[in-house]
Amino acid sequence: MAVSTLIRDTRYAFGQNPLTLMAAILFVFLVACALLGPTLVPYDPLASDAMARMQPPSLGHPFGTDSLGRDMLSRTIVATRLDLGMAVFAVALSFVVGTAMGAVAGYLGGWMDKVIGRIFDTIMAFPLFVLAMGIVAALGNSVINIVIATAVINLPFYGRFARAEVNVRRDLAFIEAARMGGNGPMSVMARHIVPNILPPMMVQISLNMGWAILNAAGLSFIGLGVRPPEPEWGIMVSEGAAYIFSGEWWTFVFPGMALVLAVFCFNLLGDGLRDMIDPRRRT
């Protein structure tokens, strides 16, 4: 697609849907928090202060403090890097591996297709969060393993998507035309199929990010992966939940809302991208 039309479509998508523009701004903000978080925050996220335990939100501590007197705002912002990082690595891993597997299966067909398809089917035969729990429990309780588990359960989405997209396009007339023009399988794939499936894959990635964030946070919420006192949204909500019956709402609401914002942002971006690429598939 020409750059000019891309710009026009982008402007159209933003104009049609101000939410997408909002999501784009939010995205920039989240990335800034992830990159610069530790240098921006007013307090050391790990420093406890026995004199300032369980303080409600105030000017000094806009998000209040937790049971150890740590500043919730600082912890919430600093956690962005870990939460987004886990999701980005997991999604990148499953995108690369899954797309490669799916594309190979879709283009070559035959026994390769069957074996790869069977692997995806087996992963999908589990409730995915449960499988992720099992993988982290088996591999060991660490951040890396959360990333791996999240990547594994996302594999089939990219794999099947890529397989279907390749399959549809393999028999399209312009692929046949490329073969008539002397393109072998590799160059058909690289020059004619991949550029055409990248835009829909981008949509998939964006929608998947939100889900990966939820997944990683869910795992740490039940005590897997990230360990205290490391600031991470899931575990912070879990810690804060202990004080729900004594009314210290700020301990779980702020990290929870951070999670919601991040997921919301990626979901909206995904929808916006989809509108941009194919207005007809708008849902």
């Binding site: 697609m1 007339a173 035309a177 023009g181 002397g182 393109n183 399988p185 160059s187």
Partner: protein, 329 residues
């Protein structure tokens, strides 16, 4: 060499496996003999599902035949695997123009990119400057202004896309151009322009055409010889004037009688009832047209008629071809 046909197919067959475990074979193309002379233009007609598109794809070496021989310029190319065929000189000699000009252009390639791609791959000896000049030359041949080079397919009209599809195919100077319903997606006025362009290109470049179409009138205008297919078999072939004036196979007659014609107003030519029988595992003894054929005798159910000569260059696969003169139309 000069007398030998450009392309000849002998017993060319393409079967597809269908229906999972029970394992039926769909006889898409069933022992077809066909030859295309140098500079000749042949029309391939038949209803949808008769195997004409599959035959075109086999001849274009887009899909390998299940059996049979396919000779092109004296070389048996039927059994060459695609990976190797892509780098053989014959690849450039056989080119194809596809049905839907929109679907047959890569949306991410400009007009120039689309035409340059086959030139670079199939004419590797050509310098970059010559390749660029070649693009200009074919754009001129198909009547597209050079200003269109940086445009993308979605910025072109249907007729312009059709021209790009043709330019891409003729850029590597093929000897045989296979055209798969090249104008069926176009409006009448655009179709007329493209048909005239195709006729003009053939006289100027001396290519052979295999013109696949469901529109008999288009074939009449553009082709010298016509081949009629029914359920994977060639059932009649011969010079265009002769077939149109004296069709001998009952199917060809019905086909011609079904072409809309204002002159036939208020008449009622005999129509074909029903639809074709299944192409999956057909009985090798029964004529494929049996059951739908107005003649259909016991003999047709026991002895499949072979293609046989009935006049100069006129072949028919019907036991009763000689008795067909007096009937209808």
């Amino acid at each position: 060499m000069s007398d030998a046909p450009l392309l000849s197919a002998l017993g060319l067959t393409k079967f597809f496996k269908v229906g999972g475990r029970e394992g039926g074979l769909l006889h898409a193309v069933d022992h077809v003999d066909l030859s295309i002379g140098r500079g000749e233009s042949i029309g391939l007609v038949g209803e949808s599902g008769c195997g004409k598109s599959t035959l075109a794809r086999v001849l274009a070496h887009l899909t390998p035949p299940s059996a049979g021989q396919l000779r092109f310029e004296g070389v048996d190319i039927g059994q060459i695997p695609e990976r190797r065929f892509a780098s053989r000189p014959e690849r450039a000699r056989i080119q194809m123009v596809f049905q839907d000009p929109t679907e047959s252009l890569n949306p991410h390639l400009t007009v120039e990119g689309a035409i340059l791609d086959p030139i670079r791959r199939l004419l590797p000896g050509m310098s970059a400057a010559n390749a660029a000049a070649r693009v200009d030359e074919v754009l001129d041949l198909v009547g597209l202004p050079l200003a269109f080079k940086p445009r993308y397919p979605h910025q072109l009209s249907g007729g312009q896309r059709a021209r790009v599809g043709i330019a891409r195919a003729i850029a590597v100077e093929p000897a045989l151009l296979i055209l798969d319903e090249p104008t069926s997606a176009l409006d009448v006025s655009v179709q007329a322009v493209i048909l005239k362009l195709l006729a003009d290109l053939r006289t100027r470049l001396g290519m052979s055409y295999l013109f696949v179409s469901h529109d008999l009138n288009v074939v009449r205008l553009l082709c010298q010889r016509v081949v009629v297919m029914y359920l994977g078999k060639v059932i009649e072939s011969g010079p265009v004037e002769r077939i149109f004036a004296h069709p001998r196979h009952p199917y060809t007659r019905a086909l011609l009688a079904a072409v809309p014609d204002p002159a036939r107003r208020d008449t009622r030519p005999p129509r074909l009832a029903g639809s074709p029988s299944s192409p999956v595992n057909p009985d090798p003894r029964v004529c494929r047209f049996y059951g739908r054929c107005p003649i259909g005798t016991e003999r047709c159910a026991e002895d499949m008629p072979n293609l046989r000569p009935i006049g100069a260059e006129h072949l028919v696969a019907c036991h009763y071809a000689e008795q067909q003169k007096g009937l209808a139309a």
